[in-house]
Amino acid sequence: MTSIHLPSRPAEGARAAGAMLSAFRLGAGQTLAGWQVLAGRCIFYVIILVVLAALWDKVAAERLPGTLAGQLPPGGLALYIGVTEWITLALPAVHLRMEDDIRSGGLEPHLLRPKSYLAQTFSQSLGAAAVRLAALGATALALLAASGREPPPLEAFPYIVVLGGLGVVVGILLYALAGLMALWARRSLPFQLVIQKLMFLLGGLYAPVTLYPPVLEAVAKASPFAAHLYWPSAQAIAPSWDGFLMGLAWQGLWILVLALACAWLWRRGLAKVLREGGV
């Protein structure tokens, strides 16, 4: 029989980290177990890159006067899209998982455990995302080699990997916000759809936000959606240390803000669940 143990704060922190790491491995393992779905995702990635690259290459080749074509980078946008889609397709549907747990009473086993549901779910999603990033990244490199296209300069790769990984963290937090809304609305779909469309628009999924009118560009760059997509992907077409630092700063800020927002929403929602026995 165990006795009451009250671990010290640092020990508690270390144990929480250990549990999160274990959840990360679990998420990674689950994604690897569903390798067929992962393979389908990689093929989707290839096809969408082929289509979008064809689109942007055509636009760049035609270079119609009086259009924005003159502002496109010399190599076209294929590399940029390669990174935006790499991040987008690596995002796990954490909002659906949370919605399912919330609606089906699947929160109960988690609430009976001594670790935070939010932290565990986040870590598990991160593990899933890590596997997807690796698989999609390998696919991207293979496609790049096969296409004979000029790759980004070597210095860009560490920037892309770091900012891309943190960009996925921003994306998971944004989707987690949508998922947590299910504690009140019972559905995450409308919130997730709005967030996703904002990611496309203000994150610059199909084209860098630098092509937007100045006001929209400024708004986009300051938004969490650019932290998710634009800043990592911009390194593929114009890598720079300054750009990397800027991206890192925006991502750091938004990760902190979004994490606090998630924690706040979870606390409020949990109090409701404990009071009402469900949603």
Binding site: G29, P109, P114
Partner: protein, 326 residues
Amino acid sequence: MSAVITIANLRKQYSYARRGRGLLGGFSPQHVSIDAVDGVSFEIGRGERVAVIGPNGAGKSTTLKILSGILEPTSGQASVLGLTPWRDRRALAYRIGVVFGQRSQLWGELPARDSFSQLRHIYDQDKAVFEKRLGEMVERFALAELLDQPVHRMSLGQRMRCEITASLLHGPGLLFLDEPTIGLDVTAKAAIRDFIRDHARDHGQTVLLTSHDTRDIELVCDRVIVVNAGRVVVDQPTDQLRKRFLGRKVVTLLSAGPQIVVDLPGVTRRASQAHAVVLDVDTRLVRVEQVIAAALARGGVEDITIEDPPMEEVIHDIYSSAVAAR
């Protein structure tokens, strides 16, 4: 015996808005309140194995949820292992194990081993202690071939063995089980009952179990609390309850020809049909095999079914008896 669980006047009221009739009904909902738990009090001592039984909607699961910390009561007090469950939920979690028969705590797509490993980290378990405990349970529950199998590919019985193992890996002193044998076949039920009882005895563990199956109560628990409509109706040792209420069996005899008549003391006929007769057998007065032998001696038996009386009937008998005793 020191009290592990103490609850006093526990109440849980749920309210919801019932939509009114017609087009404008949505604008004038009626607020309806349900008393899921209505003034429940009891104490459970260390090492006791207690069954909480009652019909559907009696408040069993609600009580269990309050005691495990995942539901706040409307009023009343509760102390579990010296902690207030809904306030000290995380601290309590380290010291209790919970199994919900209808909800899994394992990660379905992954092998059972991975689920157990994940739980080791969640409960901050020392690796050596964990491995030893797991080894013991793997042997006791014959889980060796199941460890590397994804949970969602297991049968219900196999899964329940893993669920119970998972709930015990952190060595909790108190185990809550909500319908642990629901949906299982006879053999699986027996395995689980034996394990729970023996493990609790060997480790001095306290067990609180809810069930619809009277055999769960008889074979695992030494005390029974009967709840109905959110209140405690009876709180007695199992022996006493067995003598009064649980010693009944329902035997159905199907025949091709006329109904089979069994005339023995302790056997009462229920409402029957043309080729089927349903008998109430009081096992304190006559053994089931005597009844069967008598039926077979008459000849013409096509099928025999032996069942426990429905829980609702048992509860009804208990309740009626309790009311009559007042």
